[in-house]
């Protein structure tokens, strides 16, 4: 019966259009989480060891099949769509702010960057990388933005907890001291 569960897991992964949460497997298969989780890990390792053209990844709170990154050049030849246009520096900054400080209001983004960023926010929302959420699900509350599940998926993150601590990106003490010196009125 374990073999069968494994088979059904693979079939489910084949028809899924989003990362599938562990809970979905549990419900469909009516088996305990621990067992299914073990099977998913086993499958992932299996594909890896057998050098398959697909990989199983746990991202954005679920499991999904992806093509192996080594195959990307051939797939680009097959599907032009995947040559994505790159984001501007401004867009990446806003995306980082929303990932680390979100959910937050547009006005807060503007304030953090010291420049009006509504256009960039709109572009990111249209690309599905960020989305509007409402505080406490009440209507009439302030409209806040947060990163989307699609963003997590694209980044290969399971949740926002997997983001590296922001402190890693801070300029080092030396650079800060230098900035400070240059800003001092007595400089």
């Amino acid at each position: 019966m374990t073999d069968n569960a494994r088979q059904v897991i693979e079939a489910l992964l084949l028809v899924a259009e989003d990362p599938l949460a562990l809970g979905v497997f549990c419900e469909v298969l009516e088996r305990p989480r621990s067992e299914l989780e073990a099977l998913l890990h086993e499958l992932r390792d299996d594909y890896h060891e057998q050098g398959r053209g697909f990989v199983l990844r746990e991202v954005a709170g679920g499991w999904r099949l992806y093509t192996h990154p080594d195959c990307a050049p051939w797939l680009e030849r097959f599907a032009l769509r995947h040559t994505r246009s790159r984001l501007s520096g401004a867009a990446l900054e806003v995306l980082a702010i929303v990932a680390y400080r979100g959910p937050l209001a547009r006005a807060q983004i503007n304030e953090l960057r010291g420049v009006e960023s509504d256009g960039v926010v709109r572009t990111l929302a249209m690309r599905g990388l960020i989305e509007e959420v409402r505080e406490g699900h009440t209507t009439g509350g302030p409209s806040l933005v947060a990163v989307s599940a699609q963003f997590l998926e694209r980044m290969g993150l399971n949740s926002l907890d997997d983001l590296p601590p922001l402190v890693e990106f801070m300029p080092d003490t030396e650079a800060v001291e230098e900035m400070e010196a240059r800003l001092s009125p007595s400089a």
Partner: protein, 262 residues
């Protein structure tokens, strides 16, 4: 001192300030506002039209610099209080700059992550036909806005990665063609406005090419130019003294003489 203040390169005053400070090229209190202003005006003068966003952005930058500078230059009547206030302002500004630099760095990390993630292509084929009828209503919570957003993205002009060919002069042939074309039109009508000469071609590149062609014709003495008022339409009158052929020969000579790098 050379300042590299290009409006399009900076996203607001914090960005500019961060650049000026981290480049270690200038002390912000030494920044010559007059020079920055002149450089900016030069850049604006070369643009086909004035970008309101960039212009107001510049005003914010200039005002920020002016504020910082005046705070430093003005003698303070009550040194202690003023110093404390200045220090406080400085700390606030410093904190914002550090934040700005941090998120820029984080953005670079996000960029690398998105690139890496882009190499993984998800399976998104979905249910097989025989199961399709079991799935809930496909439109579900899809709104008109979702639809329009999808259309906006997929129908927007596609950004294709391309070689930077800006060092190649792309319009020379077109200018020649335009000279022949304009000379023909002017010889027939004897007098035409620039607007007429551009005809129904609203493309900025075409307008530029025609303008350059008109200047060449003027330089060679083939046309006379007149402009009734500032920003008004330009009238071109065919002098009949020089033909298009001669203008072209002259242009070729010029190109050869300057090593083809006009």
């Amino acid at each position: 001192m050379v300042y590299e203040v290009r409006q399009e390169a900076f996203e607001g005053p914090l960005d500019l300030l961060l650049h000026l400070i981290t480049k270690q090229r200038v002390d912000i209190y030494d920044v010559s506002l007059a020079e920055i202003t002149q450089e900016y005006l030069d850049a604006v003068a070369g643009r086909p039209h004035l970008d309101l966003n960039a212009t107001t952005g510049f005003l914010v930058v200039a005002a920020t610099l002016l504020e910082l500078k005046s705070a430093r230059l003005l003698p303070s009547p009550a040194p202690e209080g003023a110093d404390a206030q200045l220090l406080e302002e400085r700390d606030l500004l410093l904190a914002r700059l550090v934040e700005c630099a941090t998120f820029r760095e984080a953005g670079a990390w996000v960029s690398a992550g998105l690139d890496r993630g882009g190499a993984y292509i998800p399976r998104e084929v979905g249910l097989e036909p025989q199961l399709m009828h079991l799935a809930p209503d496909l439109l579900g919570r899809t709104t008109v806005v979702d639809l329009a957003s999808a259309a906006g993205l997929v129908l927007a002009p596609r950004v294709t990665p391309r070689l930077d060919t800006s060092h190649v002069v792309p319009l020379r042939g077109s200018v020649k063609d335009a000279i022949v074309e304009l000379a023909g039109a002017l010889a027939a009508a004897s007098k035409l406005s620039f607007r007429d000469l551009c005809g129904d071609r609203p493309e900025p590149a075409d307008v530029v090419v025609r303008f350059l062609a008109l200047l060449e014709l003027f330089k060679a003495g083939a046309v006379d130019l007149g402009q009734a008022d500032r920003f008004g339409d330009i009238d071109a009158t065919w002098t009949g003294e020089v033909g298009a052929e001669e203008v072209l020969i002259e242009l070729d000579d010029l190109v050869t003489a300057t090593g083809g790098d006009s």
